[in-house]
Amino acid sequence: MATTGAGLTGRAERADALIWATRPHRTLWRDAFDRLIANRLAMVGGILIIVISLLAILAPVISPYDYAQPDYAAISQFPTWTGKHPLGTDLVGRDMLTRMLWGAQVSMAVGLGAQIIVFLIGVPIGALSGYMGGRIDSLLMRLVDVMYAFPQLLFVILIMSALGRGFQNVFIAIGVTGWVTLARLTRAEFLSLRERDYVVAARAAGAGPWRLITKHMLPNALSPIIVALTFGIPQAIFTEAALSFIGIGIPEPRPSWGKMAGEYQEYITSYWYMSIFPSIAIAVVMLAFTFFGDGLRDALDPRTRRST
């Protein structure tokens, strides 16, 4: 570091500093954000996600009826698009629109909530494995291998049948089976980061394991982790829908899209709307997250752009 005294070099340095100060401050995240904004498909996905989230949050306020309240005067009414029951009613006269809105809440809650569990299990295990190496690494990776030998949906179904139906149980089941991929990814990132010069330098400067992991390695492994979590959201939504579809997911009386689709699929040739509306909702939310995830991946890591 040169001294900032008098003389030519000092003045030049000050000028440099001024240029730096006036130049808009750009970070990696800012660049990624700009790239994401420019991706039209990702933006469509993002806007859909925001709209569905708002509907989910506001469901208790904007729902015209109680989701469990049957209207025996209007059983199995076809959608009229306007009037009392715009999306019709189900077999016992519950308002479809209300149940769709509440279903959004379940899907979004499971999609996001399960990722928190996945993050809390997957990242520490992957980080520990990648950072420590040696025996701990091979032990943890053996565990990961066994988990991989299980088909995930089968494992989730198994855990659900053991825990029983329940809102929290769905989170738990998806969380404890979903961390494997994230753990592998985090481990791979940490393995390569461990040898980077700045990590070696930080260690040489006396940084302890905790500081190394949280201050130096984790921030640099964050973008693939975020992408993996984003792709995990539609996966979790799908899993919840699948569980509820076969009747071992969200318990009564809460409506869930998967449950509605599963309950009424027998009547698909007559009362088609009862299962088709929730099906469309699942399809839309899954596509929205997939588009957004694709865009996010391209934005965070421009090298792996798909369309090159």
Binding site: L158, G164, T290
Partner: protein, 310 residues
């Protein structure tokens, strides 16, 4: 090669033991037993009858003994008697339902290969052209739509709106096969198309492709003889797990179309806690997956001579 295959086959055994142990522990560590029905209208059994039933199914022994007995039995391919259908052995049920699931899975797999790979090739050859966009849209839909949602859409489309298929449900004639196969195959079609496209694009940038073009081969020749040969390796690696995933039947598709396959029995067995049935299906699945992965690894060596198995 033979040695490699033998060693890999032996490695499957500890994997299966681990799977069976985990399944066994999860199934038994949870409250509720087949002898204590919690359903409100379940018939309460007198204690003597409960004990007799427990003895008959070996549920009165300590857990570790139950597990060892179970291991011994499956070594003799005896999966026990289904709790749910008390007169039938699990082996019989699987023997009757597995071929149906396999049949459906094989058809879906055939569709996936015959449509997915050409789709990916077309997309890669017409990069960023209209065909590419149609393909990638198709692939995205295939990847992100759950098959049970797709099944419902297909029914509405082909049975209600454009009545090409007269009915849904059953498995008696080929007309019943069409929709379940389509519903089960679209996801794999999408995945295969994506993989194929990505790997073809990668190969097309290689030097030897430029050489092939430079020596005057036509575009078709270049694609068929050089790109395809090298570009098909990644898609082949996912065929194994893919077939294991859909070959054992999809509970969802089988439920919607009332296909009498294994997946449907599996779901019923979960709800009724039919331990022998659950364990058998999961083990069968694990074994299937392991064998498929082995098959792919062997195939891998055949397709790409650079990979030596050791």
């Amino acid at each position: 090669m033979a040695q490699y295959i033998a060693r890999r086959l032996l490695m499957i055994i500890p994997t299966l033991i681990a799977i069976s142990l985990i399944t066994f522990v999860i199934m038994h560590a949870t409250p509720g037993s087949p002898l204590q029905p919690t359903a409100p209208n379940a018939n309460p059994l007198p204690p003597a009858a409960q004990q007799a039933l427990a003895r008959r199914f070996g549920l009165d022994k300590p857990l570790w003994q139950q597990y060892l007995v179970y291991l011994k039995n499956i070594w003799n391919l005896d999966f026990g008697i289904s709790y749910q259908y008390r007169t039938r052995e699990v082996k019989d049920i699987i023997y009757r339902t597995f071929p149906i699931s396999l049949h459906l899975g094989a058809m879906a797999m055939a569709v996936a290969i015959l449509v997915g790979i050409p789709l990916g090739v077309l997309a890669a050859v017409n990069q960023n052209g209209p065909i590419d966009y149609v393909c990638s849209l198709f692939a995205t839909l295939g990847v992100s739509l759950p098959n049970f949602i797709l099944a419902l859409f297909l029914i509405v489309l082909f049975v209600r709106l454009v009545p090409i298929i007269p009915r849904t449900g059953g498995w008696s004639s080929p007309i019943d096969w069409v929709l379940p196969t389509l519903a089960l195959s679209l996801g794999p079609v999408g995945i295969l198309a994506r993989y194929t496209r990505a790997s073809m694009v990668e190969v097309m940038r290689q030097d030897f492709i430029r050489t092939a073009q430079a020596k005057g081969l036509s575009d078709v020749q270049v694609v068929l003889r050089h790109v395809l040969k090298n570009g098909l390796i990644p898609p082949i690696t996912i065929l194994g797990p893919m077939f294991a995933a859909i070959g054992t039947g999809s509970p969802f598709v089988e439920k919607i179309f009332r296909v009498p396959g294994m997946g449907r029995f599996f779901v019923d067995s979960l709800i009724t806690r039919d331990y022998p049935m659950i364990m058998a299906v999961i083990l069968l699945y694990g074994a299937f997956l392991a064998v498929m992965n082995l098959l792919v690894d062997v195939l891998y060596g055949v397709v790409d001579p650079r990979i030596r198995l050791s």
